[in-house]
Symmetry: C2
Subunit: 126 residues, 2 copies
């Protein structure tokens, strides 16, 4: 299990600790499961874009159709559509089709918590 550690790193640990093998094992225990990180990464990637953040903020008060979101973002139709696709793929928004229009809404309100916490983290100048 500790075989993949580069030799240089192992040497470093040898210098740092009396019992490097034990320390190595406890460091490996700090690594979360791959599935967990994958899921978190999917979320944060989906949120790491200004247009997509603005879309989600606009949907706080309720659903909007794609054409209305074009107004909010002030961006070309194809650009808005591709961002909506990404948000939908990530499960952050859900859609409802009504005639020619597609209405978008927040998929899970926990996303709004993410937006709020991220805002609070940068907002206060402590």
């Amino acid at each position: 299990m500790t075989d993949s550690v580069p030799e240089s790193t192992r040497q470093t640990l040898d210098r740092l600790y009396e019992n490097p093998e034990t320390r190595l094992t406890s460091l490996f225990e700090l690594a979360p499961a791959d599935e967990q990180v994958d899921g978190q990464l999917t979320m944060f990637k989906a949120l790491a874009n200004e247009h997509r953040i603005r879309i989600l903020e606009a949907l706080r008060d309720g659903e909007l159709c794609a054409c209305e979101l074009q107004v909010v973002l002030d961006a070309p139709q194809s650009t808005v559509a591709s961002h909506l696709r990404e948000l939908k793929d990530a499960g952050l928004v859900k859609t409802r089709r009504q005639g020619k229009w597609t209405y978008y809404r927040i998929g899970d309100t926990a996303v709004l918590q993410l937006l709020d916490i991220a805002d609070a983290l940068t907002g206060d100048t402590v």
Copy 2:
């Protein structure tokens, strides 16, 4: 204030609503302040990388020096260093220098909330 809207979009709104000007104004009110979005974007960008997520998860239980994080990530020194730089720039981690070693710790525990919520959002298969 509504001057920057493309003509095609304005035409769409004309078809959709009886009172397009009023609707235009209310749509603009859905747009959050630039500073808010900038801050949120900084956060999510910093979190949108597998290595950086793993670093933060590893720091849950307390501080670690850069060389220990190299073990956790199993990545080259320069790679780890650049990710630590980004996390520090975003304010997500703080540093403490002791001799040759630089110890990293979580800057604000609210970050852990972000990680937890993101995990929960993808974890449950409702």
